[in-house]
Each structure stands twice: as C-alpha cells, then as structure tokens.
C-alpha cells in the first residue's frame, strides 16, 4: 500500500483524517438510536443536526432542505422518482447524453416503461447543446436532470443559468452534483435548482452516505418509505457515523474552498496536462478546458489502448482510470467520449487523471517521468503507430 500515487479522485477519495476521527465514537461510545426517547440515543440527534448544518453551509442551503441518503445513486433515483410521482400527468423527462450511469440507466429504464425521454446532445468539447435543450422542453416535461460537472472530462455545464430558465417554465430541475460539490464554490440561493445529489466519498468523507438537497416548496414523494426519519422524506435508521463523517468532510471542504486550495490543485493539473501535451506526440485533451473542474484531466493518447496504459502505470503505483472499452468490460469506449464525437483512434486511449487536495508536485513529477516511456513503448507495439507517423510526415 506504500507509494501509491492516487490520481483517481473522481472514482473515490481518501477519507480526511479529521472526518474519520469525528466518526469513530459513533461506532463505539455513541451507538444509540437518534429516534430514542432516552438521552443516550436521542442525544445523537443533535450531532446529526450539526452535520446537516455543516453540509447546508457548503451548499448555501438551509439545514431542513438536506435529506441524508445512502449514496449519490440513491439521491438521483429519489429525485427523479419524486418528480414523476408528483406530476403523474407529465410523461416527458429530459437529461443529457453524457450523464453518469445513475441517471443514464434510470432514464433508459423509464423510457422502456413508456416515458418519453430526451437525451440532449453535447458538442465536441462536451458542452451542452443549449438550443436543442430548450427546444426539447414542453408542458409535458416532468423533470430536467443535468449533471453539474462531468465525471470523465470534468466539463461544467452552466447549471446556474439553465436551472433559472427551467424554473421559469415551471419545470422541476435536478442536478447530479456528485463531482462538483467541494470542488467549486456552490451557492444554491443563486440558482433555480430544486434538487441536487451529492455523495460523501467524493468529498473526502466516507462511502455509504449521500444527500439530496430539496428546495423548500418542491413537491416530493419519498423513495424509501418507512419511519419518520428525515421528516418522512427517507425512511430507515440514520447511518449516524457516516452522517457525522459527511458533515465534517463538508465543513473541511468549505474551509479548503474558502482558502482557495483548489487553485493549487488546478495548477498541478495544468502542469501535468501541459507537460504531457508538450512531451508526448499525438495527444489531446478531451473536453472544454475553459469550463472544467479544477482537478480533472482527460487525455487521449492516439493509437494505444487505455487498459494497457493503466496497467503499466499501475506497475509504478500510479492510479488513474480510463474511458476505454476494455477496462469496463464493455466493448465500446465510454458513452461520454462517443457523445462528444472523439474519434476511435483517441477514445480507446483516453486516460482520466483526477487530483485532490492531497496530490503533491512530487507525485505529478513521477507521472511525468513514467508516462511518456509507457506511451512510447505501447506505440512501438502498435501496428498503427508507424504507418500513422509515415502518413503524418508525407
């Protein structure tokens, strides 16, 4: 486990030691049920309230607009199903072509169940086609769900502006902000967002905990039906330790955002990206570099295959991920890169590096030392490389 260079923070993050420390007593000393009448259990409810406030502050929301869930996927499913149930006469749903499977597969399932679904396209830079988006909206539309930032490319959609326009038309707006929260400042008061999904383990909190922000006044129906927990909006005994951990992680994320720490992350990311582009031929960045999360870089290496790159990086303890087909067990490259029209020569060789506030300059240097020879070696193995070079030179 030593000497791991972890550049896969869009997959999951290290739990901040302070968050871990805050959680531990809830596994041992404070195991009471927050719903109990006795103060041993009931006292825990105060700490859940604190966590709710910590998270609300990170989002610019009020505490009673936060519902704790088990993960980002549950938050997404809850939001979409709540809108469908609240507006049974409206049978049209809108999303984009580049969503995370939590939304993509849910929409495909609903489509099979008879809902009309629109998957709005993106351009070559991964930017939403706003004209076709606004054209798709109608009185039939029950909900619009758009990711705030893309998990593979980091491209940010102009959610503040879009959500206000959607709200003006009286349509419920949901955003999957799992990759966005904690990485860029968010103030929900300035938006038209009705519901927002987030996940604990993407912001240096624990796994198994997520949250759904539900704006006051939004029509809602619970997905998990049970006890009175979360004011009847999500049944089930609270995961107290994880809630406390998420609260602490949110407080720390806000401190780091306020201190401008993400500028350092973005500097390291740019250094990595620029050095790769300068040092490795036939390489390009996937997505709009201007409107992007500070920590994410998706780089396409032409004529090589992503899984091979990842496994060779793995030999040096470097962790990244790939949009290639082979890593996922599917046969086609990621739906995000295909929606962007990234050519196959590049899509199969796309690698995502995602940094965090723990990433160091030394780690970036190691990647820059190890990566170019790996690409060169795999290109030597590739039957396409030499002919591509010859064509380029002639």
């Amino acid at each position: 486990m030593t000497n791991v260079v972890y550049l896969d923070n869009n997959a999951t993050t290290k739990v901040d030691p302070q968050a871990l420390e805050a959680m531990l007593p809830y596994f041992s000393d404070y195991y009471g049920n927050p719903s109990s009448m006795h103060s041993f259990g009931g006292g825990v409810a105060a700490h859940i309230r604190t966590a709710r406030e910590q998270l609300a502050r990170l989002l610019g929301a009020s505490a009673d607009e936060i519902v704790f869930t088990s993960c980002g996927t549950e938050s997404d499913s809850t939001a979409i199903r709540a809108a469908i149930e609240s507006y049974p006469a409206k049978r049209h749903l809108v999303t984009s072509r580049v969503e995370h499977p939590a939304i993509k597969n849910l929409f495909e399932t609903l489509s099979k169940k008879g809902y009309r679904t629109t998957f709005v396209p993106v351009d070559g830079q991964g930017r939403l086609d706003l004209d076709s988006f606004y054209d798709s909206l109608s009185d039939e539309t029950a909900i619009v769900s758009l990711m705030w930032a893309n998990n593979e490319t980091g491209v940010i959609f102009p959610i503040e502006e879009i959500s206000r326009a959607v709200k003006e038309r009286g349509i419920v707006f949901h955003t999957d902000a799992v990759q966005t929260v904690g990485k860029i400042p968010i103030d929900l008061g300035n938006t038209g967002i009705d519901m927002l999904s987030l996940s604990g383990h993407k912001i240096h909190g624990p796994k198994g905990i997520g949250a759904l922000y539900i704006r006051k006044g939004t029509k809602f129906a619970p997905f998990m039906i049970g006890g009175h927990q979360e004011k009847g909006r999500r049944g089930g005994t609270e995961n107290t330790a994880a809630i406390v951990g998420l609260g602490k992680a949110a407080e720390l994320a806000k401190q780091h955002l306020d201190a401008g720490d993400y500028r350092c992350v973005s500097e390291l990311r740019d250094r990595l990206e620029n050095a790769i582009l300068a040092g490795v031929p036939n390489t390009m960045v996937n997505g709009d570099r201007e409107h992007r999360l500070p920590n994410t870089s998706s780089v396409a290496f032409e004529y090589v295959e992503g899984e091979a790159i990842l496994l060779m990086l793995n030999e040096h303890g470097i962790c990244a991920s790939s949009g290639s087909a082979c890593t996922s067990g599917s046969l086609e490259p990621s739906h995000v890169l295909r929606a962007m029209g990234v050519p196959f020569t590049a899509a199969h060789g796309s690698i995502r590096f995602s940094l965090s506030r723990y990433t160091t300059a030394k780690e970036i240097d190691l990647v820059l030392e190890k990566l170019p020879p790996i690409i060169a070696r795999l290109r030597e193995l590739s039957p396409f490389w030499k002919s591509a070079r010859r064509e380029a030179q002639s």
Partner: protein, 275 residues
C-alpha cells in the same frame, strides 16, 4: 479490475517477439482501431517448413498483447501442420486462462494465425467470409457459427465475449440467437460422445483428459493437477507444483480446467479444489 493470471501479466509486461518480419512467409492482419484491438502476425519458415521465427504487433488491452505474445511463443519450432491446429482455447490455456469477457483476445490470435497461414498457402482472398451479422464489429455468420461450435457457446453474451458480435448496438441479437440455435440444434442431432456415461466411463474420461490435455498445459508452468474423487458431477482435484502456491490458481481451475473437462467429458461438471 480484471483478474489476470501471472502468465498474462508476464506476457503483457514483457512481450516476446515484438516487431515485423520484413520478408515473412505469412502475414495475418485482424481487427481495427475502431474495434479497440488489432493484431498483425508474421511468421518465417525454415527449409523443413517449421516456423523459424514469428513476430507480432498489437494494439489493444493487456490480454490482447499477452495473447499475441503467447501465440508467437507457441508456434516457433512447430511445423505448419501442427501450427494450423492451434485453437483459441489453446492460446487461453497457454496463458493459464483468460477472463471470460476477454476470450475474444484469444480468438483474435487464432484468426491472425489462420490468415497468415492462408496468406502463405496463397489462399488469401479466396476464402468465403460469409455474411456480416454484427455491423458494429464486422463479424460474419461464419465466424459466429464457428466460435459457437468450437467453444460450445450457449448464449449471446458468450458470443460477445468470444468474437465481440452483439456488443454494440445489439440489433443483431436475434440473428445471433438463431445461429446459436441452429448450431446447437445440429450438434444435438449428432452427439460427439454418448450422452449418458456410466460412472466408470466418466471417471476414466476425466482421468484421461487430465493426463493428456490438462497436465501437459499446466506442466509448461511447472504446475500439476491431481484427481482426488468424483461424486456425481463434482470433480474434486488437488493442485500441485507451482499451481499449489499460485494466487490465481482458482482462475486456472475455473476458466481452464473446468471448461476443458466440460468440453471433453460432460458440460455438467463442476470442478472443486480440495485440500
């Protein structure tokens, strides 16, 4: 993460015989960049028509590179007739097994080898390729028929794992199912071996298969398999040699040994390791 055998990792990280043979006797090119993997395979014969040298270039994942590397090692020193008998299963077996979803890498090796042999025999271009069934990956009905027959595939998912067909837009799934049904239907009419084996016949056949097929392959890695007992369709075995201490031995057991015994003895067999 894929569970690759140490042998796959070794052939991926240290591929043998990479490159081009300028005046090769046979060259076989398969795959494309759009499909996500491609292989060019070359061989050169000596005066006795034995493979003197073989080289490859591969674009693809770790198992594609390892399968190509393994193929070159398997053919060098063999006669053309021996080489022509190599199946995709042999390539996977040489590597101690491949994850099921990666079997198409071994099929790609076998296809490149066949193309190279056809090229040497001057048959290139003559071959009737059949009709394209899967447009996403350009796979023909002949290729699907063959892989279903040779590997006793039963589902569309199996076919996708072996030749990629059906792994894209899925429009060809009905056609693939028809091909599976027709091949399986045909093989039901002509059983290769008696359907009902007596217990003694079954045990004998298992023993023979282990000695003639499985152990020679495992021996290449200094591994060994010993039959302990057979109870109905449960085949209890003990791994010896390097297999005993190999962390990936369960993959060999399930992907290679079990598949082989199912193929050679009975499709119902389940292989279990006993201490």
């Amino acid at each position: 993460m894929w569970e690759y055998t140490d042998k796959v990792k070794d052939h991926f990280l240290n591929p043998r015989n990479v490159g081009v043979i300028e005046n090769a006797d046979g060259v076989g090119e398969v795959g494309s960049i759009a499909c996500g993997d491609a292989l060019t395979f070359y061989f050169k014969l000596d005066e006795d028509r034995r493979v003197k040298d073989a080289k490859f270039q591969t674009f693809g994942c770790a198992s594609a590179i390892a399968s190509s590397s393994a193929l070159t090692e398997m053919v060098i020193g063999k006669t053309l007739d021996e080489v022509a008998k190599i199946t995709n299963d042999d390539i996977a077996g040489y590597l101690g097994g491949l994850p099921k979803e990666k079997m198409h890498c071994s099929v790609m090796g076998r296809e490149a080898l066949e193309k190279a042999i056809s090229c040497y025999r001057g048959e290139a271009g003559k071959k009737i390729e059949g009709e394209i069934v899967c447009e996403c990956f350009g796979v023909t009905d002949r290729e699907i028929e063959r892989v279903v027959r040779e590997n006793r595939l039963k589902t569309i998912e199996d076919v996708t794992d072996y030749v990629k067909a059906g792994g894209g837009c899925e429009k060809c799934h009905d056609r693939i199912q028809e091909i599976i049904d027709s091949v399986l239907g045909a093989s039901r009419l002509v059983p290769i071996r008696p359907k009902v084996l007596t217990n003694i016949q079954k045990i004998k056949l298992i023993e023979e298969s282990i000695e003639r097929e499985i152990n020679p392959t495992l021996n290449k890695d200094a591994g060994r398999l010993e039959l302990v007992d057979v109870d109905g369709n449960r085949v209890m075995v003990r791994l010896g040699g390097t297999c005993a201490s190999c962390a990936k031995s369960h993959i060999t057991l399930k992907n290679y040994v079990e598949n082989k015994l199912r193929e050679l003895v009975s499709p119902e067999l389940v292989v279990e390791e006993v201490p």
